[in-house]
Amino acid sequence: MFANIARVLAQSSKKSLPLVRSKHSLPDLPYDFNALEPVISAEIMQVHHQKHHATYVNNLNVAEEKLFEAKQRGSVSDQIALTSALKFNGGGHINHSIFWTILCKDGTSEPEGELAEAIKRDFGSYQRMVDLLVATSTGIQGSGWGWLGYNKQLNRLDIVACANQDPLQATTGLHPLFGIDVWEHAYYLQYKNARPDYVKSIFKIANWRKVEELFGKARHD
């Protein structure tokens, strides 16, 4: 009986019967909209999560649906035409899903354990790492993200900027650890043009426990 089932399944996959395609959904914030005040206002958190991130999720689902249909039709050209939409919206979804988790009410104590050692080794000190991440994030022209990431090949931390919603790992190979959204929508309602003030303040709400967890996973998985 199981052999028959196995044969039917094998035949189904050869005919490319559509399996149930799961859609992406907006992850809940791990805290209330006002939890990150006064560093990030409730108004910003609400619009950022419910409008911007939600739009990336919706548009990612649309793009993936179109990609599936293009593949069904056998159109390589149409699949390629979707790469921008996938990068924009997929990147937006990836980036923001990480972002909400690396922030927390009132922040945590500075990095500890393996991560603290790696920061000291690769930057000299936590403050120097912060200074570099602040400078990198503040200096991004237009929209993008500043990232602290992990180079698994070289076993080294690195700080880089990504443009727009380009996702760190797909773009650079680095594992994302701590990212700062410097699109104007992330701070404008509260900080207006004062991006440096926002970027410096974000370390007051950094959830280093989560970042340590991400680092552990990247190192040991």
Binding site: V47, K51, H52, T55, S84, F88, Q141, G142, S143, G144, A163, N164, Q165, W183, E184, H185, Y188, L189, K192, N193
Partner: protein, 210 residues
């Protein structure tokens, strides 16, 4: 002789309710001022049009801030309070738009689409190409269509729309489409026609008061 922030041709509140007073104030006194300051720190050259046209010879700070200064200098003039300018293009430009796009409305649709689909920061443009034809395009960040080798479509811009979030976020938040729709109400068509007649149709970029 260094670059200067040009004064706004009107008060900060006159484009209400389409572009809000606070945005106009911040946009002019903070954002544009910063481009001017940074540009002065990045180059001693003084011909902004020539800088844009030869942007590949300049460091990225000049591209960002020089573009920002040129783009915004014209942006303030591309807008005017309702009632102070024609509500639609006239004369030769009107004919050219109709010949190229079918109608002014069709042109606005294409322009709106370019503004909507520019991901991240940038500008949407209506301009005149070297062969005299009209075209619509968008650029990233503070690039503009004068920037040879950088812009997808090289042309002389006669109308541009800032779609950086700082241009609309205080009033419209994520609703860029609504911002674009409302912005059409304050386009200074008389000025755009002048730019076409006096400059772009003669293959000359629109100058700014440095």
């Amino acid at each position: 002789m260094s670059f200067q922030l040009p004064p706004l041709p009107y008060d900060y509140q006159v484009l209400e309710p389409f572009v809000d007073k606070e945005t106009m104030n911040l946009h002019h006194t903070k954002h544009h001022q910063a481009y001017v300051n940074n540009l002065n720190g990045a180059t001693k050259d003084s011909d902004i049009v020539a800088i844009c046209q030869n942007i590949k010879n300049y460091p990225v700070a000049v591209r960002n801030n020089g573009g920002g200064h040129y783009n915004h200098s014209l942006f303030w003039k591309w807008m005017a309070p309702v009632g102070s300018s024609n509500v639609a293009p006239t004369g030769t430009l009107k004919e050219k738009i109709e010949a190229t796009f079918g109608s002014v409305d069709e042109m606005k649709k294409k322009f709106t689409d370019a503004a909507l689909t520019r991901f991240g920061s940038g500008w949407a443009w209506l301009g005149v190409k070297k062969d005299g034809s009209l075209a619509i395009s968008s650029t990233a960040n503070q690039d503009n269509p004068l920037m040879a080798g950088v812009a997808d479509v090289e042309m002389i811009p006669i109308l541009g729309l800032d779609v950086w979030e700082h241009a609309y976020y205080l009033k419209y938040q994520n609703r860029r489409g609504e911002y674009i729709q409302q912005w059409w109400n304050v386009v200074n068509w008389d000025e755009v026609v002048k730019y076409y007649d006096n400059f772009a149709s003669k293959n000359n970029p629109v100058p700014i008061n440095q």
